[in-house]
Amino acid sequence: MSKPAKKIVKEIKVDLSKCNGCRACEKACAAFHAIPKYSSFNPARSRIKVVIDERNDQWVPVRASGYTAAECNGRNHYVIEGKEYSECAFCPASCPSRDWFKEPDSGLPLKCDMCEDVPPLAEPMCVQICARGCLTYSEREVEVFEEEVTRGEMEMGIAALIKKYGAEVVRNAVSRATKR
């Protein structure tokens, strides 16, 4: 049995033909996320980066998505309608193969959080500052179907735990958990 739930999906659309390379998005992002807020506007701390190769008319704003422990085995190198983009141009990962999306002092990964705030912003900062209309923000509602865990699945889970840790450990853990 499944029951549908509603979820908001946030989206930033990037029109590659409109970027003028001003990188104001980088400054706005860095400023918003600085602690204290606005105390820095250092593009190196930004969760959005404009990947530029002017020789190929490449101006691609990319938002940081999260950390990956290892480089890809093979690089992503796109040719779109004859236009060649530099490798990894569209990849949003904080990756060991490059400097992007890492705090310059600590090396800790950066990730775009859509400028989560209380109260919520109307639009993320990069979209707010982009005057050229390269970045636009939209939200859509989707239905998400959640699978209920069946009894059979649960017993399979317990059997796996017993196999891994032994019955004694599992029995004690259940005992402690049910006491709380």
Binding site: S17, C19, N20, G21, C22, R23, A24, K27, A28, A31, P36, K37, Y38, S39, S40, F41, N42, P43, A44, R45, V51, I52, D53, E54, R55, N56, D57, W59, S86, D99, P104, Q128, I129, A131, R132
Partner: protein, 675 residues
């Protein structure tokens, strides 16, 4: 705590390879703000008037503007200052792109270069790590080719590079320093080449601090949108298709022929189609919402970026059409020559050939067609081959070296520097003063705040004056009095020249782009930055309390310092004159009266030398003492500059941010109505 600035300069001795990080005195920032102002201070202090431009003791100074790297939109300029071999005077250049902010985030306000490297090197700045690296493998490479080679070998695509091409390596006087979408002209590429510095590569990831971060950021967020929407700011030439303004009014060839009625709708449509075919997009500089640069890929050439009037100067010098310019710029920018002096110099050489002063012996296998002649001479020029070796010094020096009557063809230089090709009818009083007295050598670096033309219709004129928030009250009065076809008064002309150049000195200390400031006011009066709102931004960024009068005073101080440098290097009143044929109808007596009146207004002697009273009042006592010692002034001259408050005539003293807004404005319409 240093705000907006880093408080650190890099001192590089290229002769021995010594590099030091030097903390700067915050008092210098208060007095000169930064940019070319504090650079002029360094040059006054450390480069003696006897020092040759090609001496290792000449300094080459890169200054990120005081506001570069802050959230302030369009404040991203880097100033380059040195002594130019062509003029033997202070040379001031500027370039945009991303370099200045990157340098600030690396932790430096200035790079001060002295000495000469024993072999070709490049400077690599990565935050605290600064090294001089071998550049022998970069010798002869184009400017952008150099940039990409360096980024590849240092394995970082985010490095910003400023480089010279072959022209700079060969010490052409018209060599530029190229960076990304920007070029620095007017005598700085030659010194970089002379010092055997092929490139500066910088990567900066440190923080930069401002005094009121939240207020500044929120103000800038709005200001950024306002500038984007403003039809008055940015390069209108980049987005409008009608350029009758330049093509019908400016002089073609070696500033020789005016072609009235050249521009037609058919031509405009043809050039528009061609441009759209090869243009990928418009793009801008760091933290600026405007689109002043074209990204083009002409057939058979690499993709590159171009800007400004270079879009016109090449084909106008060659009597060709726009496609010729797009093609030759792909070469000239890689070689690293400018788009003002270089086309003029080549056109000058062609004129000499046509006149028989240069012969087939000087120009072996010289082609017959103009475009081919330009390609031929460009190749000779950048290699200093044959006649190229003479032309490399620019029109003034080449004419004298060639002799045989060539001097007569040098009819468009002032203070030995090539001027914009423009020969007009009746002498224009404010422009006469700007041409004569500008220590920035080029008219486009001096003009820009006051309209070039009066408004015919009185009601329209009044409306403009009422909305002209960027102008001190007296300029509104002058403008209301200005009838078409009549000269402005002497008083008006003097004040106009003074205000126009003052705003450039403001921009060049702060790193604000003139396309949003000192160059833009003249068409529509809606520049995003002006004397009244700039102090507000300075306060939020640096914490320094200033009003419009204080800002004017800093610009005046910087300007007088540059003047003193040039006077001590031999600038004379006799040098301050435009070429004889610059205007068809001259008024010699009025011109001299104007010049004397202007000197007095600026607080200078009748020889154009700043007096002790002027310099002392500006806090430049030591400069006064030196000028007295060298015999340029006696010290007892009872002349001081005219000081008029920006808040006189009822102007309220309040911190403002805004500027004149309009729904629509195009240069084409404006010029049709008023020229």
């Amino acid at each position: 705590m240093r705000y907006a600035e880093t408080g650190v300069n890099l001192e590089v001795d290229l002769t021995v390879g010594n590099i030091e990080r030097v903390e700067t005195d915050p008092e210098i920032t208060r007095r000169h703000l930064g940019g070319n102002g504090s650079a002029a201070r360094l040059i006054w202090d450390r480069v003696r008037p006897e020092t040759d431009a090609f001496s290792p003791d000449n300094l080459l100074i890169f200054s990120a503007g005081l506001l570069a790297g802050t959230p302030i939109p369009a404040a991203n300029r880097t100033m380059v200052d040195t002594i130019s071999p062509q003029t033997n005077m202070f040379s001031n250049s500027i370039f945009g792109g991303y370099f200045g902010p990157e340098l600030k985030h690396a932790g430096y306000d200035k790079i001060v270069l002295r000495g000469k490297a024993p072999d070709l090197v490049y400077l690599w700045i990565h935050n605290d790590k600064v090294e001089l690296r071998d550049a022998s493998h970069l010798k002869g490479k184009g400017a952008q080719e150099t940039a990409h080679t360096i980024k590849d070998e240092l394995n970082d695509p985010d490095i910003q590079v400023a480089a010279i091409g072959l022209a700079g390596e060969n010490r052409l006087y018209m060599a530029t320093i190229e960076h990304f979408n920007a070029s620095a002209a007017r005598g700085v590429g030659v010194i970089m080449g002379d010092k055997r510095l092929k490139a500066i590569a910088v990567r900066g990831t440190k923080d930069l601090y401002v005094s009121s971060p939240e207020e500044l950021f929120k103000t800038c967020l709005q200001h950024y949108q306002d500038i984007h929407e403003s039809p008055f700011n940015g390069d209108l030439m980049a987005i409008e298709w009608n350029d009758a303004f330049h093509h019908d009014n400016f002089a073609w060839g070696n500033a020789r022929t005016r072609r009235r009625g050249y521009w037609t709708q058919e031509l405009e449509d043809r050039w528009k189609d061609y441009t759209l075919k090869i243009r990928d997009r418009l793009q801008g500089c760091y933290n600026c919402p405007k689109n002043c640069h074209l990204v083009v890929k002409p057939p058979g050439r690499q993709r590159y970026m171009l800007k400004c009037f270079g879009k016109g100067t090449w084909h106008m010098a060659a009597f060709e059409e726009l496609p010729f310019t797009f093609d030759i710029l792909a070469l000239s920018q890689e070689y690293g020559v400018d788009s003002y002096a270089a086309p003029q110099t080549i056109a000058f050489a062609i004129e000499l050939y046509e006149a028989g002063i240069l012969t087939d012996k000087d120009l072996p296998e010289f082609p017959a067609q103009s475009a081919d002649r330009f390609y031929y001479l460009l190749e000779k020029l950048v290699r200093r081959e044959d006649i190229g070796d003479v032309l490399a010094k620019g029109v003034y020096w080449a004419a004298r070296q060639i002799g045989n009557g060539a001097e007569v063809y040098d009819h468009n230089t002032m203070k030995k520097f090539e001027q914009i090709p423009l020969k007009l009818g009746k002498v224009n009083y404010p422009y006469y003063l700007m041409y004569c007295t500008s220590d920035k050598m080029a008219i486009n670096q001096t003009e820009g705040s006051y309209p070039q033309d009066p408004i015919r219709d009185l009601a329209e004129r009044q409306k403009f004056a009422d909305e002209w928030t960027s102008a001190p009250e007296r300029f509104k009065k002058f403008f209301m009095e200005w009838e078409p076809g009549k000269h402005p008064s002497f008083e008006a002309a003097i004040n106009i020249c003074d205000w126009n150049e003052t705003m450039h000195y403001v921009d060049d200390a702060l790193g604000i782009c003139a396309f949003c400031s000192s160059f833009r006011g003249q068409f529509g009066g809606g520049s995003a930055y002006h004397i009244y709102n700039i102090p507000t931004f300075i306060k939020m960024a640096t914490g320094i309390e200033m009003d419009a009068d204080d800002l004017w005073q800093v610009a005046r101080r910087n300007r007088n310092l540059v003047r003193a440098i040039n006077i001590s290097r031999g600038l004379k009143r006799a040098d301050e004159k435009p070429p004889e044929d610059h205007w068809a109808k001259r008024e010699p007596e009025n011109e001299q009266k104007l010049l004397s009146g202007y000197y007095k207004f600026k607080g200078w002697t009748d020889e154009g030398v700043p007096t002790k009273l002027t310099l002392d009042k500006l806090g430049l006592d030591d400069v006064a003492d030196e000028l007295i010692k060298r015999g340029h002034i006696k010290g007892d001259e009872n002349i001081c500059y005219t000081d008029q408050s920006c808040y006189s005539e009822g102007r309220p003293k309040e911190a403002v941010v805004g500027f004149r807004k309009a729904e629509s404005f195009t240069l084409t319409e404006y010029l049709n109505e008023n020229k």
